[in-house]
Structures are given as C-alpha cells and as structure tokens.
C-alpha cells in the first residue's frame, strides 16, 4: 500500500466523515468522541538498576513503574491496563532484575510464564528473546507445551531454560513429574499469568486449582515466587486475581500509556428495504441467518455480517488501515470477499476500486507461517486491512491500526475495549466502529451508548467452592506430593479437606491419613482425568464424521455433558462459525465420550424444550432488598431436554415439534440464588393483572387469576438471566432459571426428607429421577404447606457443583435487576408478551408462555424501590379476602 496520509497524522477519516461519505445511510448512528490522554512516564533510572535502565530506549510508563516498584517490595501484582500498554515489559524487566541479582549471588533465577493459547506463547517467546537481546542478557526463553518436540529437547529445556512458557493444560500434566523440574522449580522467582481475565467460569475454576497445586509443589522445593497477572480491564481485577492465586494482590490499573482521541461510532444497519444500494442478494443472505434472529416480529435490518465488511472496505478506501473483528473464522474469510464486492458494486462512488484493497483474513485455522506473514504485512503497512477472529484480540503484536470495525458486539465490554484498543497510533486520533447485529445485547448497546462508556466493565467470576472440581484436583495433589496437615487451610479448610480425603479413601483411591500423609492409589495419572472445560470430568470431544473433509472441522473446545444433553443430541442442527452442522451421533460411553458432526445446509435449526425443576434448595445466605428477600444456597436441579423442535431459519415457524432427544434427564447439585416477593407486592400485582389471559395457552391453569403476575415473574426471570452477561463474564447458557408461585415447594422439606428417604438410599438417590415425578412432588409439597408460600424466581448455575455465577448475581442483584428493567421497559417491540430481544428465551421449556412485560417491570420496580406505596395501594384488594386459590405454577 502506498501511504496516502499527508503526515501519517490522525486517522484519515473521522467518524463524522465516515457517516457523510458512506454510500447509503445507516439507520441509526451515534458518533461519540472520546478524549485522548498523554503519556505519563517515569525515568527508567528512577525505578531500575542502571545496567537495565541504560539500554532501554524509552522511559517507563507510570503503570510500568508502579508495578515494578510493587514487585521490588515483594508484592504480587495484577496489571489491568489497556491493550498495547506494555504489560509484557513489566514482567520481562522483573525477570531481568531477578536474573541479574541471582547471577551476582552465583545462583539461578527462573520464571514460569502461563499464556492462554499456544499461538500467543510462541509470539511472546520471540518478543521476550528480542527484548533480552536488546538488554544484552543471556536469558533463555523457551516454550514447553504439547507441540514441543519430545525427548532430549524437552529434557534440555527442563534442565537449562531460565524462562519457560506454557499453558495451564501443560502445568496440569507436568506437575505429575515435578521431580524432573526440580532445578527449574527450585529457582522459580516469578510466575506470570498472562491474559488472566480469560480464566472465568469452569475453566477459571480449574486454573485456580492448578495454581494451588503448583504452589504446593513450589513450596516443596522451597520456592516462593511472586506472581504477576496481566489482565484486560475487568470490573474486579484484584478480587479475581486473588481468587486465582489465593494470595493478596496489588492492582495496578492507572494506565500511563498514551492514547489519542477516538471517534467511537455505533452503527445500526438500515432496514433491508431501505438498503438502497443493493438488492438483498441470495448469496449474501444465505449464511447470514442467526439463531437469534426472529424474522417476523423484529425489524429486519441488514445483518452486521453484510454491513461490517462494507464499512471495512469504505475505511480502507479512505486510507485508514483497519482491523475488522468477526465472530467466526468463516466470517473472517467471507468478509474479505464481501468487502471487495462492495467496492465493485459501487464503482460510481469508488472511482479507484483498487485503492486500499490489500485485505486478508486472519484466524487460528491458518498455518503458523501464514499467520506470521499476515502479522508482518500488517505491521509493516503492506496490508490495508485484515478481517480477524478474536485471535488478534489477545496480545499478538501486529502494531497499531488507524481504525477497527466490530462485526457485532463482542458480548462483553471487556472484550469490546480490548478489541478497539487495537486502533490508535500513539496519541493520534483513531476511529472505531461497532456495527450492531440484531441480537438483544447488540441492540441494547446501540440504544444505550452510556452503557459502554461507564467506567466499570464486567466482573470476572472464578470460584473454588465447587466440590466436584476440588475433589478431582485433590487426587492429583496427593499424587504429586502426599497431602498432609500442612495442606489444611491452604488447599482447603480442615473439614472440607477431611471430607474429601475420606470420600476418596472409602472409594479406594486415596490411602493414609492427614497426620502422616495421604497418597494417591487409584488408576495411574489422575491428571489425565482433569477436563479443563467440565466439572464432573464428563467432557465430550467434538469430531467430524469420518467421510467429511478436514476443512470443515469445527475445531470446537470439548463440551461439558450439560451442554451436550441440551444442544448436541442426535439430530440437532447447530450453527458454528457461520457453518451449519448436524449432530450425527453421540457416544456417551467409553473413556472419551464424543459428539460427531457433519456439515449440513438446511433451512431450519433445532431447539430443545427444557423442563426444569428445583428441589431441596437450602439457603446458606440471605439479605433483604427492601421488603424482598434474596437468598443464596444449594439445591438439586433436574433438567430434562426431552424433546426438540425444528424451527425455520426464516420466519421462525416450527417445521416439526416434539421430536424426542432420547436423552436422559440431568440431575445437578448446584448453586442457586432466589428472590422472594413480599406478599403485599404479590397481592397487588395479582390484582392488577388478574384479567390477563394468554390465548392458546394449553395449560390446566390457563384461567387462573395469577396468570398475569406469573407471566411477570417468568419474564423477569428471563430478563435477569439475559442481562447477566452485561455485568459478569458469564455465558448465559451456563445459567438457568425457574419462576414459581411457590418458592417454598422447592425448598428442602425437613419432614419430607426424613420420611421419604428409605434407610437403604442415600440422600442423592431419593430424589425423583424424572421430571414428571419431580413436578408431582412439588405439587404435593405445595398442597401440604401450612402457610402461604412466597413467589419469586430462582437462578441457578447450569453445571454440576456450580460455577459461582449464582453467587455473583446474589452479590450484584440490584445492578442486574436494574439492567433487566431497562431491557424490558425500553424494548420497542410493543408486545405484552415481549420479543426475543427482551424477555423471550429460545431455550424456554414453557415455549415462552406466559410472559408479561408490564408485570415484570412492576416487580422489578418494587425491587429497585422505584415505586412508592401508592402504586401498591391502588391495586391492593380492600381486605384480605384470600379468595383465589394459589395454583402451583412454575415456569423455567
């Protein structure tokens, strides 16, 4: 590309200019100007020893200096600053410092660097080696992971490398042979957890345990390294880091790196019929259907998958080097093609169609050599633009762009800022465009720009309370080093540790006592049974059918059993990275269960119907929110994805309904949070909505006076789960809910459990094994309750043992409720029953009925104390006539 920029100054096109020059108008566009920030620096010599400061070309940014000083004081540090703010340099300099000090004392100093991906590991290996060369230090940095050549090469790395780079799956495995690493571990002064914000949910929980196991082994070798965690901006960097490493952490988040001003453009594509510049060509629309689209109700806009490549093309035409982020590999490829087509279809406007047309796709499906080539051409300015998956979101060095375009909201503010941080050359003006898709979150974000600009981002949730995961890692720990008294209080509190040891002893897998040491005696290498993406170890590999070419390989992470039962039953059609796949078989048995897929091209997708029941919930914590009571606790959730529907991609009509999945129901012991609505609010709202009827609702309770209110609870439950990702780094599919008119029936019944449990069955076995039986139990309990039950809704972690999300919602309930209220009240669907963008949930086991937006907003208003007493009084019946018998209604 020839450089047309006059002075390589600011981005050659501003947000306003983009809107003015773009052929065809977006429907709705907001241009926000974000001010820049000058660099704040500290002279290197103030912080570093002279022999390190001298070779450095630049001063240190203040956050780098702060972090290095905290490290010098012996603290652990979490650096949560923007993309390209020089986080790597912090730990690189600390490694150099440790190395020089150790060398002076004639000893060794090593560092263990843990990256989330293999690609990043190799990228960082290069840049660290370069930096140490620059500093004139002979520090050996080597990657040691699954791709490292076996044999002598590995031995040499273990015995010689100063810095070893790997990932957590590797650490989990290598801990088994820690004695081979004795030299490296004994000398370890620094452990770095890079991109630590990526460790949340199930994965984060495993990482937290692997870190604890690593710490035991380090302790055995008398090493007590410091920890550096680098994180994208998350809401709770200190809390999250401490949870991961189980030590106190100093947070450094005052970013001293410079940024230029930025034009942030929120771009909602025009409706299809107003999309004057093109006809809706079939080849474009074909792959663009998204499961979240609902063709009938929602305003049908040009999909982001079409609009975003056009914006990319337009920007590069105007000399802005641009990075387009796409949600899938296939879309990265397709976007390049579309960008070029856009150019050629608008020759009248783009009179020099070849200007700024050096574009390439980038994703992890490409070979390493090819990716390096693209990175290099991007860095050197040969390329005008790249369409990439989030592979370029995490740390890989490609230099700085003029502009970014996002094809759809990436789902999290954290990720949003991380991606747009790729644009901005020093203090020059940059441009970032978010092209919204039709989905709930996208539409929420473009109509509530303030949400993006608020200072906080999502909290990263990591939790070590899941006993199933703890127990699995305990076996590994005992295999690595005998578990004994010294582990009390560090691995777990005494009671929990003793219970887990006794459980495995009774099962014949551990031997010995804490006083003298507990060894592992089960099948060899318990580390292999750790699945980093599942809690109970039942993890399914995703494979391609034998006769299908490799290019279609979906390359999906293994799936937890809970997900397989819901979304990957035989006959399921899933859209993954823009490609439809049909599940041809599911093998539940064998040492490694599998799901087999084949690519397909059909005009429907599948959706399971889910029945959910909560049983025996026990409150462990509760708090008052006004007159409402919020609980956190544990209980059993029975989930049954018994049937599925085939739903037309266009129009959303059901082609076929109630096809059996042949799956067994899933029973989980998990963590729950639930809200109890006070009687007064309930009575008033029942009265207010007593005339609501839902046409076509096939339910024995269709005529009850409670239906409108129940629809409100149901809608509020859907909405609180729907907005949870706005506050927490959670996949909404890991959460489930149940709205009920009788919370009490779902709680543990002391009398019941005593009489019903036979002497020969354990607590876990007496629970009903199928949904019908469970629901009958609930109704029976409801009829036997002595006092009027309270109504409300449950939110649970959809993974056996729990993930900590329900707890996080418990702790942040008001904020979540506020978001849910906004979502429902501000939706312009105009339907009482809502739309997929507000309260409808495609997984709903009750087919999204009954739902009532108005009643939901009222309930949430009372939680948030937006409504005063008079609003209640208007509807409260004059006297407590207690006339309407409360039906035992509950909706998932």
């Amino acid at each position: 590309m020839s450089d047309h920029r006059p002075n390589a100054q600011d981005v050659p096109i501003t947000g306003d200019e983009l809107v003015e020059t773009y052929p065809g108008l977006p429907d709705d566009v907001t241009v926000l100007e974000r001010p820049g920030r000058p660099a704040e620096t500290v002279p290197s010599e103030d912080v570093l020893r002279a022999d390190l400061a001298k070779p450095l070309e630049h001063d240190l940014y203040t956050h780098q200096a702060d972090a290095l000083e905290a490290l010098a004081d012996g603290e652990n540090v979490c650096v949560a600053t923007s993309t390209s703010s020089g986080k790597t340099r912090i730990y690189a300099l600390q490694i150099a410092r440790n190395y020089l000090e150790a060398r002076a004392r004639g000893i060794e100093s090593t560092a263990y660097l843990l990256y989330p991906t293999k690609a990043l590991s190799r990228d960082q290996e290069r840049s660290l080696n370069d930096l140490f060369d620059e500093l004139g230090l002979e520090i050996t940095v080597r990657v040691y992971d699954g791709d490292t050549e076996r044999g002598r090469n590995r031995k040499r790395i273990r015995e010689e490398a100063d810095v070893v780079i790997t990932n957590f799956a590797g650490v989990n495995t290598y801990l088994h042979d820690h004695d081979r690493w004795a030299r490296f571990l004994s000398a370890c002064d620094l452990v770095v957890i890079d991109e630590s914000h990526t460790y949340t949910g199930v994965h984060g929980m495993h990482v937290a345990w692997i870190v604890r196991r690593l710490k035991r082994v380090l302790d055995y070798y008398d090493a007590s390294p410091q920890y550096v965690l680098t994180s994208a901006t998350v809401g709770n960097p200190g809390e999250h880091s401490s949870a991961l490493i189980d030590e106190s952490v100093t947070v450094v988040d005052e970013d001293g790196s410079p940024t230029g001003p930025r034009d942030l453009v929120l771009w909602n594509p025009p409706p299809r019929d107003r999309d004057g510049s093109h006809d809706g060509r079939d080849e474009w629309t074909e792959a663009d259907h998204d499961e979240d689209t609902d063709g009938d109700d929602a305003l049908e806009r040009v999909p982001a998958t079409v609009e975003a490549p056009r914006v990319l093309s337009h920007l590069t035409y105007h000399d802005a080097q641009t990075l387009l982020f796409t949600p899938s590999r296939k879309l990265a490829e397709l976007s390049i093609k579309r960008a070029s087509e856009h150019r050629h279809d608008n020759r009248r406007y783009y009179t020099h169609p070849d200007r700024g047309s050096a574009l390439e796709p980038y994703h992890a499906g490409h070979s390493r050599a090819k990716r390096h080539g693209t990175e290099h051409r991007l860095k050197t300015g040969i390329l005008d633009g790249v369409a990439s998956t989030n592979a370029l979101e995490l740390g890989i060095d490609v230099g700085e762009m003029d502009a970014t375009v996002q094809l759809g909201y990436p789902g999290q503010r954290q990720s949003f800022w991380q991606q747009i941080g790729r644009a901005g050359r020093g203090t020059k003006r940059a441009l970032s465009v978010l092209v919204a898709d039709h989905r709930t979150l996208d539409q929420y974000v473009v109509s509530n720009p303030d949400y993006l600009l608020e200072n906080d981002v999502e909290d990263a949730v990591v939790d070590v309370d899941n006993d199933a995961v703890f127990a699995k890692h305990l076996r590994c720990a005992a295999d690595e080093l005998a578990v004994d008294e010294s582990d009390v209080g560090t691995v777990a509190e005494r009671e929990r540790l003793e219970r887990a040891v006794e459980m495995w002893r009774r099962a014949g897998q551990l031997q010995g006592a804490l006083e003298t040491g507990v060894s592992y005696t089960g099948p060899p290498r318990p580390q292999q049974s750790i699945s980093l993406y599942a809690t109970t170890g039942e993890e399914y590999d995703v494979r391609l059918a034998d006769d299908v070419e490799d290019e279609y390989d979906p390359e999906m992470e293994p799936l937890a059993k809970e997900r397989v039962l819901r979304d990957f039953h035989e006959g399921a059609v899933r859209l993954h990275q823009g490609q439809q796949y049909e599940v041809t078989s599911v093998d539940h048995g064998g040492p490694r269960p599998t799901v087999t897929l084949r690519p397909t091209d059909v005009d429907y997708y599948t959706r399971t119907r889910t029945d959910v029941t909560v049983l025996d919930a026990v409150s462990e914590q509760s708090r008052e929110i006004g007159e409402f009571t919020l609980h956190f606790g544990r209980g059993q959730v029975l989930v049954y994805h018994g049937t599925y529907d085939k739903v037309a991609v266009h129009g959303g009509t059901k082609r076929e309904q109630g096809i059996p999945t042949d799956n067994p129901p899933l029973s989980m012991e998990t963590q729950l949070c639930w809200l109890e609505v006070p009687q007064r609010v309930e009575r008033a709202l029942i009265e207010k909505y007593r005339d609501v009827s839902i046409p076509g609702l096939e339910d024995e309770f269709a005529d009850t006076a409670h239906l409108g209110y129940a629809g409100g609870l149901h809608a509020a439950e859907h909405a609180t789960i729907g907005v949870a990702p706005l506050e927490l780094m959670v996949d909404k599919r890991d959460l489930g809910g149940l709205a009920t008119l009788s919370i009490d029936s779902h709680l543990e019944q002391p009398a019941h459990s005593e009489s019903a449990a036979g002497p020969d069955v354990s607590a876990g076995d007496d629970a009903p094994k199928n949904i019908a039986a469970a629901e009958a139990t609930i109704r029976e309990i409801a009829s036997g309750l002595e006092r009027d039950p309270t109504s409300g809704w449950f939110i649970y972690d959809g993974i056996d043992g729990g993930l900590g999300f329900a707890r996080a919602i418990y702790e942040n309930f008001e904020t979540v409720a506020e978001r849910a209220r906004e979502l429902i009240a501000d939706c312009d669907c105009g339907n009482t029953g809502g739309c997929p963008a507000c309260v409808m949930d495609e997984q709903c086991g009750n087919d999204n009925q009954p739902l009532h937006r108005g009643a939901a907003v009222d309930v949430l208003d009372h939680v948030l104390e937006n409504e005063d007493e008079s609003a209640l009084a208007a509807h409260l019946p004059d006297e407590d006539h207690g006339g309407d018998r409360r039906p035992p209604l509950f909706y998932a």
């Binding site: 004695d179 004795a182 004994s186 055995y220 070798y221 008398d222 899941n466 006993d467 199933a468 127990a471 699995k472 005992a478 295999d479 690595e480 080093l481 005998a482 578990v483 004994d484 929990r496 219970r499 887990a500 006794e502 459980m503 495995w504 002893r505 009774r506 099962a507 014949g508 031997q511 010995g512 006592a513 006083e515 003298t516 040491g517 507990v518 060894s519 592992y520 005696t521 089960g522 099948p523 060899p524 109970t536 989980m668 012991e669 998990t670 036979g758 002497p759 020969d760 354990s762 607590a763 876990g764 056996d800 043992g801």
Partner: protein, 517 residues
C-alpha cells in the same frame, strides 16, 4: 509357586473369559492352580460361566446363576492345600443384594450357625462416589446391616470393586447408616462395637486404568478370611505373554491352529511373517521370547554388555522402602555389595518425622566408604533414584552434587526398555523374574505396598514393625537383583538358542545370518 497360605480362588471377569482362547485359560489354570474359579457378577453371563466350567479343573461358580439352589445363600466348598495338607473351607455365595433383602432372617441364621464361613460373595456391593456432596456410599448397606451379625467382622467379597480394595465398614444394624470406616487393615481388624455390623469389603474385580478386560485377581482364602488379593494381567498368559502378540495376532494365530507357545515354536518364521502387520523381525522376536518363556532361561538380544560390567568392581545393588506412593520418608535403604557379598542397611526406627538421618547415614557410608562404586537398581529411574534424588536435595542438600555424580544403572531399563534381553517370568516385576531364574527368596510374604502400610501405621500410632521381617524383605530384593544380573550376564544370545522341537534349518541359518551383520 510360593508356599500357599490357603486355598486359591481365581476371580475372572466374564469378558476376560469370553475374549480369550481356551489355551490361555488353560495356561492360567496350569500356572495359578486355582482351587476354585469365581466368574464375577453381577451381570448374568451363562456362556462365560460354561466356558470356565469346561476349561478349569477346579469347580467354578457364578453368583448370579443360582446353580446351587434358589436360596439367598448357597455354599461353595473349596478344597485347597493348607500347610501341605488338603483341607476344605466354605464361602457363602449370594446372587445379589435383592436375594439377601428378600430373606434377611434366613441369611442371618445361616451366617450365625456357620461360623466357619470364610467370606460371603455378593457381586453388586459397590461404592458410589458423589463428588458434589464429598461422600462415598456403599450400595446396599441397609440390607447388609439387616442380614449380617453384629459384634464381629464379616468378610464380603465383591467383583464390583477393584482388586486391592479393602475397607472395613461399620454399620448401624437397624438403618445401615455408616458409623465409621477403617482403612487400615494391616495387623488385623476387629469390630467397632458389640452393637455394630462390621463388614470388611474386599474387591476382586478388574483394577482400573490398566486397560479394559485384562485385569484378573487371585485370592488366598483361609477359614479365617481372605489373606491376600493379587492382580494379574491376563495378557501375561497364553500366547499373548509373548512379546509382539496382541489380541488380534493371537486371534489370527488361533485361526491357523496355533494356540500355545509350544505350537508357536513349531511354526516357521515365514508363516508368522505372513500375518498382517508382522514383520520378519517381529516374527523372529516372537519365537525367541516364546523360547525363553518355555525354557525358563534368559537370552540376550544384543552384544551390548550389562551396565557396569566393564567396571573393575561390580555395582552396588540398591533398594529403598517408603511410606507410600507419594512418600514423605524413605525409611529404609538397603545395599548389597556383590564384591564382598555383604549387605548394609539404613533404617529409621526412631523418629519417622525426620527423613534426614537415614539419608545422611546412607550418604556418609556411600560417599565415605565406597566413593568409586556405581549403583544398580530395578526400575530405579521410576522410583528409587527419583525419590532418593529429591529427598537428598531437600534433606541433605550438601551431598546433592556428589549424589548426582554417582553413576547409576538400571537393569530393568537395560533389559526391558532398551530391549537388550528377553526375560522369563510372566511379568517384569523383579520378584517374578528372579523367581523364574531360580532365586530362592526369603519368603517374607511382604510387598512394597504392605511394608509401606506397616510403616505408615508406625508413623501414626507408634506400633512397632516386625523390623527383621521388613529388613529381610528389602535385603531379599537387593540380592534378587544381583541374582538376575548374574544370570543375564551369563545368558547366551537369543540367536544361539536352538528352538525346542527342532525348527527348520533354514530358519536357524537365517537368524545367524542376521545376527552376524
């Protein structure tokens, strides 16, 4: 076979019986000489049972198949050699928990009257782990508590728990609720209380993690109960015992009428090499190993000298004992010096909380008295050297460098991993190999796990070990190692062996030719 403590019961999963040629089962029968064969339940597998009955000389029983009547309990009489005399003992067999549940009174009467029953077999008793609750349950505790006597220990054998499982569950007689579980069975067990049902659950099922459908168990049973449970790999028997023959090749050989090692030796290399995926080299190796197994003599496969053979003094034979697989102490280090035929031992009998003194004494002696000797172990890179290295670095760090510079040899690595020799003996465990090579052991009745468990008890309770016995065990291993070393040193090359039953002459020529390059 070593001296027997009682009758031998062979516990076989049905799949093992169904999947193996009759010749393999016959080899099992000849080698382990069972006095009874237990075809494991709880699944009903009449065909496997019939196959066992028609193959083994001893009586067979399969609990789900009520061959001995319809009652909740039948008796299985086992005639076995006890102390050189023929004696008979009995075990009670039930088809399953349901049968016990149906007639608890009759069961308790039987158990009360027949106090000489060695054990009760019930194949569907199993443990279930519930990790989210951090609990392990025992299936059927209520039934068992209802039927079993209080105030004494009843041994219950089950094929649903892996061999090696041994725990004493104390149950409330009325509800079956678990009062306590004893995991330490070394040194005898007793009931918890007079009003408590104490069940010692012992597994005889396949050990996990060693491949599917291969693990079998043999039990030594005396009138007092079960004295030991050992596991074996069924692929160490029959044709599959020969290196290079897996189940598929064994099947193909069976199709050609070759089902025993003797028949294999009569089959020309050409015929073997015609089998799919069998090279000439592999075919030759099969025959060589079969010869070694049949003749009971080791053979060397290369001209490579034994590790340390060219030293002016032989290596010191080393063995260590720890308190478990993740050791907290190396409490015994034994060294046999072949040069002086003397044995030296270092044992921590006093303070097990300090691993230092034993290591220090060992290093003082080794570095001070024998500075120029090499060490020899059996599989030491996986155990002895590995743990010694780690412990010395931690507890006597000043000797670390010297320790690391001592030449260390591993005879197992040389013979098995590097394939310099073929060993007789069905497994490559030192005891088995030494036994096959005619080593007369001290017969301590111990193994690594037992001696570790005994030391663990000492650490916790201060209960003294039978020190001499445990020291004799360690010494035995050191001397056995030297015995194997000498036999391997003197062994001829495999190429020079004339196969039994006269192999075709061209085959011999071929082997010599290949060996001479």
């Amino acid at each position: 076979m070593p001296a027997r403590a009682g009758a031998t019961v062979l516990a076989l999963p049905p799949s093992v019986i169904a999947d193996r040629p009759v010749a393999t089962l016959e080899d099992l029968d000849r080698t382990l000489e069972p006095d009874a064969v237990w075809v494991l339940g709880p699944e009903r597998e009449p065909q496997a049972f019939a196959r066992a009955r028609s193959t083994f000389a001893a009586p067979a029983f399969h609990p789900p198949l009520e061959t001995a009547g319809n009652g909740p309990l039948s008796r299985q009489v086992i005639d076995g050699g006890v102390g050189g005399e023929t004696a008979s003992l009995e075990v009670a067999v039930t088809p399953g928990l349901q049968s016990l549940q149906a007639a608890p009174e009759s069961v308790s009467r039987t158990l009360a009257v027949d106090t000489d029953l060695a054990a009760l077999v019930c194949d569907d008793v199993t443990t279930t782990t519930r990790p989210t609750a951090l609990e392990t349950d025992l299936e059927g505790t209520a039934t068992v508590a209802d039927a079993f006597p209080t105030g004494e220990v009843t041994t219950l054998l089950t094929g649903s728990q892996p061999a090696g499982y041994d725990a004493l569950w104390h149950l409330e007689p009325d509800t079956g609720a678990v009062r306590d579980v004893d995991h330490e069975t070394i040194g005898g067990v007793g009931p918890l209380a007079a009003d408590c049902v104490s069940v010692r659950v012992r597994g005889a099922g396949p050990a996990e993690g060693y491949g599917n459908g291969r693990s079998i168990a043999s039990l030594q049973v005396t009138p007092g109960g079960v004295t030991s449970v050992d596991t074996h790999d069924v692929t160490d028997y029959g044709l599959e015992a020969v290196t290079g023959i897996g189940p598929k090749t064994a099947d193909r050989l069976a199709d050609r009428g070759v089902t025993t090692r003797a028949e294999l030796l009569e089959t020309p290399v050409e015929t073997l090499a015609d089998l799919p995926n069998v090279s000439r080299e592999r075919a030759r190796r099969m025959r060589q190993h079969a010869t070694v197994l049949e003749v009971g003599e080791p053979r060397r496969l290369t001209d490579e000298s034994l590790p340390g053979a060219d030293w002016h003094e032989p290596p010191l034979c080393l063995d260590i004992e720890t308190d478990g697989l993740s050791p907290t102490i190396i409490w015994q280090i034994g060294v046999y010096d072949p040069a002086s035929d003397s044995y030296q031992t270092f044992v921590e009998r006093g303070d097990p909380s300090d691993p230092g003194p034993v290591l220090e004494a060992f290093c003082d002696w080794l570095l001070g008295m024998h500075p120029n000797r090499a060490l020899l172990t059996w599989n030491g890179w996986r155990f002895d050297y590995r743990h010694l290295g780690a412990f010395i670095a931690k507890h006597v760090p000043y000797y670390t460098e010297e320790w690391e510079s001592i030449p260390k040899f591993d005879l197992y690595l040389w013979a098995v991993t590097e394939e310099h020799a073929l060993l007789p003996g069905r497994t490559n465990e030192l005891e088995v190999v030494a036994d096959a090579l005619g080593y007369e052991g001290a017969g301590t009745g111990l193994d690594g796990a037992r001696t570790a468990a005994a030391y663990q008890r000492f650490m916790r309770t201060g209960a003294e070990l039978e020190w001499e016995r445990h020291e004799a065990y360690c010494e035995d291993d050191c001397r056995a190692l030297w015995h194997v070393y000498e036999r391997l040193r003197d062994a001829p090359r495999a190429d020079d062996v004339s196969p039994a039953n006269g192999a075709p002459a061209d085959d011999d020529t071929e082997q010599t030719g290949l060996g001479d390059f």
